[in-house]
């Protein structure tokens, strides 16, 4: 078989290998990053800027995938849990995840 032809049965050939789960854990990941940077002393605006920065792939991917309203909501939620102020109003409920 030519070297560069895709063999779907060869799990080692591709960079994206078969995974145990297809679970979307981006919400938990978002919460985690917000909490970690909050503990480092970041305020809400600086955190949102991190999500908007394409060089921070993980958080940027969340913003692309779920939208800014979702990120703002999560920031507000985590900040209120940690008794920190946010400069925007806390959304009552998270926006719906757009269909894939």
């Amino acid at each position: 078989m030519p070297k560069h032809e895709t063999d779907p049965d060869d799990p080692l050939e591709l960079c994206g290998v078969g995974l145990l789960t297809h679970e979307d854990t981006s919400e938990a990941m978002t919460e985690c990053f917000i909490e970690e940077f909050l503990r480092l002393g970041y305020d809400a605006e600086r955190l949102l800027a991190l999500f908007r920065n394409p060089f921070y792939t993980g958080v940027y991917m969340v913003l692309q995938d779920r939208g800014e309203a979702f990120v703002r909501h999560k920031i507000a939620e985590v900040f209120s849990r940690w008794h920190r102020p946010v400069p925007w109003a806390t959304a009552a409920s998270p926006p719906e995840k757009p269909a894939a």
């Binding site: 560069h4 895709t6 591709l14 960079c15 995974l19 990941m29 480092l40 970041y42 921070y56 993980g58």
Partner: protein, 423 residues
Amino acid sequence: MSTVFNWQLGRDMEYPYEAAYPDRQFAFVFNLNRCIGCQSCTMACKSTWTFSKGQEAMWWNNVETKPYGGYPHHWDVKILDLLNQANPGGQTWNGEPRPLKAPYGRFHGKTIFEVAKTHVSPEGAQRALGYLPADEDWAAPNRFEDNPAGAPPGSPGDYTRGDARLPEHRTWFFYLARLCNHCTYPACLAACPRNAIYKRPEDGIVLVDQERCRGYRKCMEACPYKKTHYRGTTRTTEKCIGCFPRVEGRDPQGRGLPMQTRCMAACIGHIRLQGLVQFNPDGTWREDRYNPLYYLVHIAQVALPLYLQFGTEPNGYYIPPRWVPRPYLRQMFGPGVDAAIEKYLVPDRELLAVLQLFGKDARMCFRYEIRPGPKVFETTLHGRKFELYNDTIIGYGADGTKIIETTVEEPLHLRPEQHANSI
């Protein structure tokens, strides 16, 4: 083969040499919940040690995206597969955890040393189960790792044909920062036919004697973490040297005190903490209650060794990322994962304070103490009661000098724009 005690596996195991423990052991903890994959550590190492001719594809420290990537490519998938082939379905754990001697229970599977006894590779017998990565596996670290949809059409490595496109991953991932684990039972050392690899008695750092090495690459084949690298221009193997001049306290910046390595000190996300720990005569960690590494590994038990089932007793520990599905994490960090994440999700007063030591000073912290502060608030985190106290944590260097003093609620100082890139 000798019999040695591996506390991470909770049992004796076979190793080609008799046990010999250093006076102190180089060890580190990485908090993966904080890593954003900026590669500052990678570049700090590269610009210090591996910027010369022949070292182009050599990254003693690297950060890879899991589960998609690895350096060399698929290193962990390949060694896990080899182990599974040798002991199908047998890599299991059970037994009650016991402090110090078996904190994760008992491993009933086989290590890379035990499998090697009955496994003969095409090249002959091995002292540790392994494989030699191909040149192209080393050539492009991080290739496509953060671009899960694949390479642009027409570029090298493009797998698209006609209308076929790889799906874009919609699933979880995290960044895994890695360097040599300066293992207690190094596979590289065990495999070297020239006895060119040795473990320093003063700090447990594993080094390659460049005078003795002849570049047979048996260490590269044996190291399950693939952290020894071949240099074509010298025809020898090189590896992470644990920034030993800094660990010895010879960096002028440290004013005689042991310093953390370049990769640790350069981490902007404050995910890293490095230090030296001590062993008991049986190879378990000597109690040192207020050493932050001892606390994180043995008291709080939030920091876990990477692929401990390989059996080399690695001295790199990781606080697992809390959003990643547990079966994957259990394979990577062992059965201690669930308890570690539960503890980390709602940290207690001491853990929250100790986490503040990460990235605060380039000198090594040997001891900490906590001065109680006022209660800030009380709330519920993940369904459990959480109280935040603004305690003060103080860290001390090797000679008892105070090197860190900070609070849990730490003020953030922003550098003015005109001094953004000043040192």
